[in-house]
Symmetry: D2
Subunit: 201 residues, 4 copies
């Protein structure tokens, strides 16, 4: 089995992105499953194009895209991707879409095809705070999730796809006046491994 | 230099206490400072008596008591200990004081004698979320803080004293339906070491 | 123009439901728009059947269903209804669905057909905290929203449909040990009137 | 009986202050108790001087100072005033004290002399969210509280003194991107009346 796992590059004022900090620490292989890790840009559309090319080339059995969710205290596999872009800040190419679809004419939403409840439960059982989330937002995370899920629906209907949000890294919130939850990258890595292993059970 | 550091035993429904999980992982010595670690009971009055005896025996230069603060995302050195007990749940001996003083006739409050702003700042600079807190609550944490601070004021006026709250451990909040921030014990240990090292600078 | 507005009856430990507390205070008519108010049960499926019968009978131009969202500080028009039921507590008939669809074989989700961004913006401009929400949850609120939205899609494609969550009433959170945001019913009523008036602009 | 009640003028980016919005709506008399209302500046030291002059002139039986606490969802009578100034932003005269005492040489803290637990309980019983708070912060609110409490301790030892924080007004948080709890001024007024009436029972 092979899983493609992506993390995002930094954006906004940050010099690191907790999702890539976790993904880049993943082993090449866990429990007999090959892991292909990739860092993608925080750019509407571009991230999805890169992931879709990788899917074509790598032919993975599952795709787990990850991103950071400031303010969240848990690892949160996402239940639903929506066909909607609405950005509060510009992406890394300066693009700031407002109330527009990801793919014109496509369905309003897709549910994750990966077993999100089992994924969250397995993390909790291993002592890592996790919960299913019902909103991946309206920024580049949801954009990537929707695009890839739509692509896979058309081309690889049996492929497991999910998007997983991770909390910020401690160093990102170690700022006077900020009070935000965080999670060590090593803990997020364990969460990703646990969820990868549960994918095919 | 010698520092006495205490953590609390578990209480309520928990089988671990994040404060002792951190304190018991401290080295015996850091940056030339000896560390004496002690686990104390979650019992009004008793915890303080144990710490006061240890102070007499060990004659430390500083005393850092620690406890867990559910819901907090940061390591929080406390600014002030108040002469007040008001418990929402019973302590581990079944005692649940309501609106009464820690020490009858003693001052309403004492400020920490340790450099709390420098302690929080040093943690943040090392990438660990920390902030000065202005309330240690009204349960056994504040009780221990007030008692020890009062004792030291009378007997060892130059001794540095503070109480430090740490977030819960990830495994404590890895529960369906719970959404609380947490911190790895290893991260809390680093925070304590950083704060111990700053004490005498 | 005519708008059908629903609120929910109480459920769980509560003796009132903030949504019906607001809806029952609505005038019969605002800005030339007739308002038909209805209280519906917190029962999967039943609430939707009642609303669908009312739609057939009343032939409204818009349907705004409302519910209470404990923990929210704002009035939140919902962006998306999902084809998913997942209840943490049983409904008022004792039914507690787990990970199942609202309507088997129907689309994963529908977006609101009412202008949710304009609705939230109009409230804020009038001084009432409001924001678009991207998750109506997985309980009876989302169930009603999805069912009605799906029904209208099939039968009355031009009809405006949304679900609006309101905060709890102050008296619901005036409980020792609870810390939850709340909103006066009178304020929620104003929010609903503002949103009803914006529907046809 | 006579009660002096103060609220603060606006500060920072705000054009209103929820505390004065409540206090200025108080009646001149409630339950046979005369109410003297006063708006004070958000200036370290100055607010206290004005209140102390008013105490000398009016000779009230109780003094309730109020201020706004952004982020709080409840009316919170404060338990303790601390002898400490530490401002994150400058006051309305541009003064930004950092880690200094309110009154050099004075006690570290004073407890409120008003019955704060009874005050919070009475509000909750009337359906208004309230709770005792153990930190009035380190800005002008605590500064006024400590100064007045210290003054009264020296000059009018039997006088009841407290500081009460109220949530922001809805219109202050009706801003895109902001998610903060709020309370209608009319509700805060009722809370103040309830607490004034309980003072002498």
């Amino acid at each position: 089995m092979k899983v493609l796992v992506t993390g995002f590059e930094p954006f906004g004022p940050d010099s690191i992105n907790a999702s890539w900090e976790a993904v880049r620490r993943l082993p090449k292989r866990t429990a007999g499953i090959d892991i292909v890790a990739k860092c993608v840009p925080v750019v509407f559309g571009d991230a999805a194009r890169i992931v879709e090319e990788l899917i074509e080339r790598e032919q993975p059995d599952a795709v787990l895209c990850t991103g950071v969710a400031a303010g969240r205290a848990q690892v949160t596999p996402e239940y639903v991707a929506i066909n909607h872009r609405h950005a509060r800040i510009a992406d890394n190419e300066g693009f700031q879409p407002c109330d527009e679809p990801v793919v014109a004419g496509a369905p309003d939403a897709y549910f994750a095809s990966a077993p999100v409840y089992a994924m969250a439960k397995a993390c909790c059982e291993q002592g890592i705070p996790a919960a299913v989330s019902y909103s991946a937002g309206t920024y580049c995370c949801n954009d990537l999730f929707y695009s890839v899920r739509h692509f896979v629906q058309q081309r690889y209907p049996g492929m497991l796809v999910d998007f997983i949000h991770v909390p910020q890294c401690p160093e990102q919130v170690a700022i006077a006046g900020e009070v935000k939850p965080s999670m060590e990258p090593a803990t997020a890595v364990r969460a990703l491994e646990i969820m990868i292993e549960i994918l095919f059970k």
